[in-house]
């Protein structure tokens, strides 16, 4: 499949602009393959992050045609023969160069919550819809969140409020509160029950749309709002 990769370029000291590269990738290829072809065939000064190539490291997040994607698992077939893919770095994080952003907003927020990465999410039994390998009766799914930052890129509040905790950290807080494992729950409540915690969310659900791994941070925030509001009201009434 032949495609045009229209890529955001920025090197410190010069103005940002777009370069367009014609590339050819297999029909079964992904957008990351197209970006790599642009790098290999046309311009090896292109800077972009990539590691696992299978949606488990969360490194490669960027915008494809103004929508948040993990390019390693976004098929070029979604765009079609001859399409132009506009590639931009993630929003709401400072651009270091080209498609590489300073991702510290992601990690600083997760650190604030306490890095609740591994939680027992659910124990699943097969319901007949999906066969399990031989000998496996149940399995536990751990956290979906890759900490890729696409939700922070998509969130309209993150665009204007550097103090906002953001969808990723708030969803992580929900998981941490469900299973604290030694984290200070009271401190977490204080963090999120704040003008720049939960209450800055205006339910655009762009985070849920952007998430490549069904974390559904939007729904997590709604559940947290209920939990925190109920707690506050109970305390107010002397509970």
């Amino acid at each position: 499949m032949k495609l045009n990769v229209k890529m955001y370029r920025y090197k410190p000291g010069s103005e940002p602009h777009y370069d367009t590269f014609p590339v050819e990738v297999p029909d079964t290829g992904n957008v990351l393959d197209a970006i790599e072809r642009a790098w290999a065939d046309h311009d090896m000064s292109i800077m972009f992050r990539h590691a696992c190539h299978h949606a488990s490291c969360g490194s490669c997040g960027l915008l494809v045609n103004d929508q948040e994607k993990l390019p390693c698992v976004t098929p070029v077939k979604d765009y079609g023969e001859g399409a132009t893919l506009k590639i931009d770095p993630m929003r709401n994080m400072p651009v270091i160069t080209d498609l590489a952003v300073d991702a510290s907003p992601i990690y600083q927020r997760m650190q604030l919550i306490g890095m609740p990465i591994i939680r027992n999410a659910e124990t699943l039994r097969p319901d007949g819809t999906e066969p399990l390998p031989n000998g496996v009766e149940t399995f536990k799914r751990f956290e979906n969140c890759l900490e890729c930052g696409l939700c922070l890129s998509a969130c309209p509040v993150m665009a204007t409020d550097p103090q906002f905790l953001g969808p990723m950290a708030l969803a992580a807080a929900e998981r941490a509160l469900a299973e604290p494992r030694g984290l200070d729950a009271e401190r977490l409540y204080q963090l999120i029950d704040d003008e720049h915690g939960l209450w800055r969310c205006h339910s655009s659900f762009e985070c849920t749309e952007a998430c490549p791994y069904e974390v559904d941070p939007g729904a997590a925030i709604m559940r947290l709002k209920r939990k925190v509001a109920a707690r506050k009201i109970k305390r107010l009434l002397g509970g």
Binding site: P162, Q190, D194
Partner: protein
């Protein structure tokens, strides 16, 4: 700088909860206001005499004052919410909250004064 912004002191807030509550109350209050203003009098608009008559009813008077308070509160909480989306410094936020509170109180005081004036003038 990002670190400093993220680690600012956090404090509990009722503003979103109040925004939601006042909003739901407005569904009823605004609905009543619309019905009484536009669906009772022929022609859909009250003239001076009709306004004075209707405000002289104590229940209506209280209803309209309640509506004024709730709508002003919801509106200014909303303005405050949009401002806070801009990630201002804590001191700036406090100032805006104070300013909007004052504006709200002035609006409510004005509305009550106006309603009392209409009723007393209407009696003459």
């Amino acid at each position: 700088m990002v670190e400093k912004q993220l680690t600012r002191e956090r404090s509990s807030s009722w503003s979103w909860i109040l925004q939601a509550f006042t909003g739901v109350m407005l569904v009823v209050l605004l609905g009543l206001h619309m019905v009484v203003q536009h669906f009772v009098v022929k022609g859909g608009l009250r003239n001076y005499q009709q306004v004075a008559e209707y405000l002289s009813n104590p229940f209506v008077f209280l209803l309209e004052v309640a509506f004024l308070i709730i709508v002003t509160w919801h509106a200014l909480l909303g303005v405050r919410a949009v401002l806070f989306d801009l990630g201002l410094k804590p001191a700036t936020e406090r100032n805006w909250t104070a300013a909007l509170t004052v504006i709200g109180l002035i609006m409510i005081a004005y509305g009550i004064w106006l309603s009392v004036t209409i009723v007393s003038q209407g009696r003459v």
